[in-house]
């Protein structure tokens, strides 16, 4: 299946010869938008950009910052890939905002799951099941989301840290504070690390709150360097660049790796040496975006000249799992089918999932896990 084609590692993977491509980009359009209900329904091929513009007109937004809208990401593709961006930190991810779906199962039946109201505990929660389903459980055709009012203003504090340990201390202080944080991202910088913390709310209170935030950031860390406050357009641009992955060098592949702050030192031990891999941590250290060259060597860690395969190995070593979105997967030589990507660090093997798959796709039309 392909929506907007913004995640080619998912929509252009190598498949068995008789596999049909289902292009869903034509399945477009907003079906219903109820600003006063904070919900909208759209066909799966509708672009994230179109939806964002529509919501913006009513002062609303999808708080989880769906990424890659600039490359044409569709709602269906974003759900199937299970993608949330930096704003996921505040109110939850795409899983928390998707409230209803229609999908076509492996027997060609269109099935509705969830509903159109923001709260609903009736029946099995198919919308959640389809978040991250990678097109392997069914074809999403229509989606209903809840949305939130967009805060009237945002501010972002940027801080620099010499060492990773300082950064992590700062991170802990910030995320443990009572300050309501919209986004917490960080990345290696020229020297050391750079942290961005976003807050939002009524403009009148923002200045003072940003001051308190700066204090927490610097106080908690001991060794903070430059602290900078962003407002207005400059601030907006900072997060727009996060959504578009502007940090990702041209020609690099992209993968996402869920983890927790506690796993970061171990991850950095390995990835920090795997030059020229680039990375950005998001969602308060719960998500790592990894960029890597599509071919060639990955630093000292490998001599086999297959960077994607090296990454796969590193993730296995860390016991983490990743999802490749852009770029070539590990070379297939010597790898079993599940190891070629887009799932890195091992296939999803799960007795519960196996049983669900057997019910929704009894003949295996969508490809196995």
């Amino acid at each position: 299946m392909r929506g907007g084609g913004s995640k080619p590692a998912l929509s252009q993977r190598r498949c068995a010869e008789d596999t049909q491509l289902l292009d869903l980009a034509g399945l477009q359009g907003i079906v219903d938008y109820q600003p006063e209900e904070y919900t909208f329904t759209a066909r799966a091929g509708t672009t994230v950009a179109e939806v964002a513009a529509m919501l913006d007109g009513k002062g609303q937004y999808l708080p989880f910052d769906p990424p890659l809208a600039d490359r044409g990401a569709t709602l269906g593709g974003t759900v199937a890939a299970g993608l949330s961006g930096s704003g996921r930190y505040r109110y939850g991810g795409i899983r928390d905002f998707l409230i209803g779906i229609r999908f076509v199962d492996g027997r060609g039946q269109e099935i509705r799951g969830g509903g159109a109201v923001v709260k609903n505990a009736a029946g099995f929660d198919f919308p959640k099941l389809f978040v991250g389903s990678l097109g392997r459980l069914g074809v999403l055709t229509e989606l209903t989301f809840k949305v939130f009012p967009r805060p009237p203003a945002f501010a972002t504090v940027e801080a620099e840290f010499e060492a990773l340990s300082d950064l992590l201390t700062g991170l802990d202080a910030v995320t443990g504070s009572a300050i309501d944080l919209h986004a917490v991202d960080f990345a290696p910088a020229e020297a050391g690390w750079r942290l961005w913390v976003r807050i939002g709310g009524m403009a009148a209170a923002l200045e003072e709150r940003a001051g308190a935030l700066q204090e927490v950031v610097s106080g908690g860390a001991g060794r903070t360097g430059l602290l900078r406050l962003y407002r207005d357009h400059e601030e907006e641009r900072l997060w727009q660049e996060a959504r578009t992955m502007a940090w990702l060098p041209e020609g690099m592949g992209l993968a996402r790796v869920p983890l927790t702050p506690g796993r970061i030192p171990a991850a950095e031990d390995l990835f920090g040496r795997a030059q020229p891999a680039s990375r950005r941590y998001s969602v308060g250290g719960n998500l790592l975006w990894l960029g890597w060259p599509e071919s060639g060597d990955l630093g000292e860690t490998d001599g086999k000249e297959d960077a994607p395969r090296t990454l796969h190995g590193l993730l296995l070593e860390l016991g983490l799992r990743g999802l490749q979105l852009i770029g070539r997967g590990p070379r297939s030589e010597g790898l079993s089918e599940g190891e070629e990507g887009p799932l890195l660090g091992g296939p999803v093997q799960n007795a519960f999932l196996r049983r669900i798959s057997a019910a929704l796709d009894p003949e295996g039309k969508f490809g196995a896990w």
């Binding site: 991810g93 509903g115 929660d125 009012p149 969602v283 719960n286």
Partner: protein, 481 residues
């Protein structure tokens, strides 16, 4: 019965004090908080650790005997009602918080841990567990997971599902599966999300990883009285339209207010409708929002407004609301709570229609509800000793559910379908959807052992009788609060 091979196997595992089979012992387990339904199981087992749970499930599977997991039995929809000749697995002794990792902001708990205990344990670290059902001082995390339970404060941060990161579960044949993990993000389908809210049909949650949040710095709570439910509803619309995102928006009607007065001496203004709005978060932000909120409320012409400045005043405002359910018990011997959801903008229509139905049935209905997300809680009052009263109350309840579906809503926002509403699920979903749910269920549980007869309408209906309040309630052991 005692010679039944399953019973013999269970008897080898459990001592007499943890394998209950005598009628007097079983009585306390015959119903949940929906006391209109009662059923005697073949036995209740009280495992102490996850190995015993697993072994019990495997034995049930081997002997093709249905089982029901049970937490504290506070389900309001008959979810933990036993199955005739089935086994009840009482999980209350699996009540350990296995790990509380303040740095990672997670708690890993056993299913029998009481909801409130998680927040109590997290408090020294400045953290809490957000979902707060009114029953939080007695209900278990396992029950919360099965029903995707919510609470007054779920408007902003969501229900149980939004706070469960991972789980270890026993599928209905005893195979163990790990769903999700410790991160806020995952790879592959959101399996914890699919398990949460599955009402015990996918098996038993053995270990649950919960997200903890920093305790909000401050709360600002306002109580406003209105001359009609409609006016209170309009105020909700105004608050929502303003872009404010309160932690809670609740409404009570005259009968609920009266109940709160009788039952909890809440000291509320006497009015046809009360609105409670609460902002939570960082002091600076909340102060600014509160000023805007108060201005909005003033514009809606309330009869009276009270603001909570201190924790005490806040507790006083919430006391009546939180006690409303049990207090309604003072107005009538029995009641059924409905839990339908309507689109927020249709709240006024829904309430007017409920009012009309109440009058035409001659049955009192009290309304306490989560107005912010359109989740109604009509409390239908009746006297079970009166011939046919339960049936009439159920009929009225059914009409309310159909009303919610007709308005584009849901038959349940947080209490689950359970036993009670299973005939109404097909009114919300078509035959294809019902079949898909049945297919998934059969694929996960080929023998339909786990909580058989709940949620999905297929299968034999249990024979039900009505015999007044919950036995433990009669005995004064549990209260509805």
């Amino acid at each position: 019965m005692s010679l039944h091979p399953l019973m013999q196997a269970l008897a080898r595992m459990y001592g007499a004090d943890r394998l209950l089979t005598r009628p007097a012992q079983l009585m306390a387990y015959e119903s949940d908080a929906l006391t209109a339904f009662q059923q005697r199981p073949a036995a209740v087992v009280i495992p102490q650790d996850r190995e015993e749970v697993l072994e019990t499930i495997r034995l049930c599977h081997e002997h093709e005997t249905p089982f029901v997991a049970r937490g504290s039995g506070t389900s309001l929809s008959g979810g933990s009602l036993p199955i005739a000749d089935g086994i009840v697995i009482a999980l209350n002794r699996l009540d350990r918080i296995l790990r509380l990792d303040a740095a990672e902001r997670i708690a890993v708990v056993e299913p029998g841990v009481i909801n409130l205990k998680v927040s109590e344990a997290a408090k020294p670290h400045g953290l809490y567990y957000a979902p707060d059902p009114s029953s939080q001082s007695i209900c278990t995390i396992g029950g919360n997971v099965a029903f995707n339970s919510g609470g007054a404060h779920c408007l902003k941060y969501g229900m149980t599902s939004n706070h469960v990161l991972g789980m270890t579960v026993a599928l209905p044949d005893g195979e163990v599966a790990t769903l999700g993990g410790e991160s806020l993000e995952g790879v592959g389908p959101d399996l914890p999300g699919f398990f949460v809210g599955s009402e015990g049909l996918f098996g038993v949650a053995l270990e649950i990883t919960l997200r903890l949040l920093p305790i909000p710095e401050t709360y600002r709570t306002v109580l406003a009285a209105y001359d009609s439910l409609h006016a209170a509803g309009d105020a909700v619309t105004a608050v929502v339209a303003s872009g404010l995102l309160p932690g809670a928006i609740e409404i009570m009607d005259a009968l609920a207010i009266k109940a709160a007065e009788v039952g909890a001496k809440a000291g509320y203004p006497k009015a046809p409708a009360l609105l409670i709005v609460e902002l939570e978060g960082e002091a600076g932000a909340v102060e600014a929002e509160f000023a805007q909120l108060m201005q909005l409320i003033e514009e809606t012409a309330p009869l009276e407004v009270r603001m909570a400045q201190t924790a005490d005043e806040r507790a006083r405002i919430w006391k009546g609301r939180k006690a409303a359910f049990s207090a309604v018990g003072r107005l009538a011997p029995d009641y059924i709570v409905q839990d339908g959801v309507v689109p927020r903008s249709r709240l006024g229509d829904a309430l007017a229609e409920i009012d009309r139905l109440s009058a035409s049935y001659g049955i009192d209905v009290a309304n306490v509800f989560h107005a912010g997300d359109g989740n109604l809680h009509p409390l239908i009052l009746f006297d079970g000793r009166e011939e046919g009263a339960l049936e009439r109350a159920e009929e009225l309840a059914g009409e309310i559910l159909e009303l919610c579906v007709d308005l584009g809503g849901s038959i349940t926002g947080e209490h689950g379908v359970g036993m009670e509403k299973r005939a109404y699920l097909p009114k919300m979903y078509g035959p294809v959807e019902m079949q898909a749910m049945e297919d998934v269920r059969r694929s996960v549980d080929s023998l339909s052992l786990a909580n058989r007869g709940k949620m999905l309408p297929a299968g034999e209906a249990e024979s039900l009788t009505h015999v007044g309040p919950h036995p433990l309630e009669k005995a004064g052991v549990i209260f509805r609060e």
